[in-house]
């Protein structure tokens, strides 16, 4: 259900919420996070158990405190049920129970502008009041936290959305300052290629989410997370090289392992120049990977993958402006297809040879 409120009612919601949080805020721990090279934001954690997870997940984005952060996120623990909007926000309207979530929206003329969502299904709630966002979850257990890692993605996505920058779902690695953006949806070898390349000496930005910033000179990629997620099969294959990775927990579906890879900080690059895009596809019959320039149709497929993967994660399929911006960021880059063979290390060596041969 969408609850369409007037401005005075919206303000009352946040007054109610802030008064509820006030006693918790006195003991809150503050973390400062770099959003690419664009902004510095603050997380105020009202839950002691959240702090280690923030340090593990965002080690590569944490930075020194600044006096005036660009935005703040308040984290706290709260039961999220059908009484949430009454109990926490002071809204006296009964939910009609017609959905898995309640969207709180501000009535603006003929339209409505959402400012919060209460998910009964995930037992989470998030609200935004100007530069301050509020997020609550019932459990900060490690696995739930990893699932709720998307909390940071959604929040950072909004913050990174400027005329010249955007958070995207893609991987970035490279050699000698020559960055490759890997454009592909899941199950196409993108993450495996990125992590294996890092373990074999490549420079690394991310295997999953990253922030792209376009300037007159270049397109640059910066990391968000310092964690990776590996299937048991990939973990076994990479075991000997994962000596600096630390197990964090299983993912929420319990079909993958989550590792803290902040021990590989020497490989990490920020504001890393992206020189080309690669569209990987797994071809089990190959004995050696093949890298070729993309045809126009393949390039279109690669861009569709990156754009679709990004907007799908952020539920922004209807945001034509975002789609246009992402396309504009990418379409002047050279695109190559990379057909991957089953030997993950051989794929990395093929990529290395290719990059060394590129001028």
């Amino acid at each position: 259900m969408v609850l369409s409120l007037h401005e005075r009612q919206r303000q009352n919601c946040f007054l109610h919420l802030r008064s509820l949080l006030e006693p918790l805020m006195t003991d809150a721990e503050a973390f400062f996070i770099q959003v690419g090279g664009i902004k510095t934001v603050r997380v105020l954690s009202c839950c002691p158990e959240a702090a280690p997870m923030i340090r593990r997940q965002l080690a590569w984005s944490l930075t020194e405190p600044v006096p005036n952060p660009d935005a703040t996120l308040v984290l706290w623990r709260e039961k999220v049920d059908a009484s949430f909007h009454q109990r926490v926000l002071g809204i006296g309207v009964e939910d009609d129970g017609s959905g898995d979530n309640l969207i709180l929206a501000l009535r603006e003329g003929d339209g409505i502008q959402p400012f919060g969502e209460v998910s009964y299904e995930n037992h989470t709630a998030n609200l935004t009041d100007g530069d301050c966002s509020f997020y609550c979850v019932e459990s900060f257990a490690a696995e739930e936290w990893i699932k709720e890692g998307h909390l940071f993605v959604h929040w950072l996505y909004r913050l990174a959305d400027t005329p010249t920058s955007h958070l995207v779902h893609g991987a970035c690695i490279g050699l000698d300052g020559k960055g490759i953006l890997l454009c592909a949806r899941g199950q196409r070898g993108k993450s495996t290629l990125a992590v294996t390349a890092m373990l074999r000496g490549f420079e690394y930005v991310s295997d999953d989410y990253l922030i792209l910033e376009k300037s007159a000179e270049a397109l640059a990629a910066s990391p968000i997370y310092s964690i990776i997620t590996l299937s048991p099969r990939m973990y076994t294959a990479l075991y000997d090289d994962l000596d600096k990775a630390r197990f964090v927990c299983n993912n929420a579906r319990k079909d993958k392992y989550v590792f803290d890879i902040s021990g590989y900080g020497s490989a990490l690059r920020r504001a890393y120049p992206v020189r080309l895009c690669i569209f990987p596809e797994i071809e089990p019959s190959l004995t050696q990977a093949v890298i070729e320039p993309c045809s126009a149709v393949q390039k279109g497929r690669a861009i569709t993958h990156l754009v679709h993967s990004t907007v799908l994660q952020m539920q922004a399929q209807g945001d034509a402006g975002t789609v246009r911006k992402l396309i504009a960021m990418l379409q002047d880059l050279p695109f190559y297809s990379m057909r991957l063979c089953p030997d993950i290390y051989a794929n990395v060596e093929t990529l290395r040879e290719f990059l060394l041969s590129c001028r």
Binding site: M1, S98, I103, V297, G300, H305, H308, A320, I327
Partner: protein, 140 residues
């Protein structure tokens, strides 16, 4: 329906078929288009070089294909032409292959739809208007 061939309007559209679903993006406007599984199968065959006659023959091989399959195929093509997703192509023929269960699941109606904007998606949920005077009830 006169047999025709079509190709992707490459100069305007990016397209990909993943997990049996076509996603198409207008590179200039950023507008998204999606298809159901049956529509994706038809679109895939068109891009692979099958003519509309080839596709119609494949549809009619599927048990339960309705008598008006040609009409819904024609309407689907018109929709894609209207969105400028496809353009006429040189005549060619290639045996078409469609997934019967997709056709049955989608009741032999191929769909290509433009994604609504975010505001319209919001209106898909039931909206409870809270009146400024009466609807607001502060905490008891």
């Amino acid at each position: 329906m006169e047999s025709k061939n079509y190709r992707l309007n490459e100069s305007k559209m990016f397209a990909d078929i993943t997990d049996g679903i076509a996603i198409i993006i207008n590179a200039a406007t950023g507008i998204y288009y999606g298809m159901n599984g049956y529509g994706t199968g038809i679109f895939d065959n068109l891009l692979a070089g099958s003519s509309t006659d080839d596709i119609l023959a494949a549809i009619q091989e599927i048990p339960g294909a309705p008598a008006n399959a040609e009409e819904s195929l024609s309407a689907f093509l018109e929709t894609m032409l209207g969105f400028e997703i496809i353009l006429s192509a040189e005549a060619s023929s290639r045996k078409a292959s469609l997934v019967a269960k997709d056709a049955v699941f989608d009741q032999f109606i191929p769909v290509c739809k433009e994604y609504k904007d975010v505001q319209e998606l919001l209106y898909a949920d039931p909206i409870h208007e809270v009146s400024e005077e009466e609807g607001w009830k502060p905490e008891k």
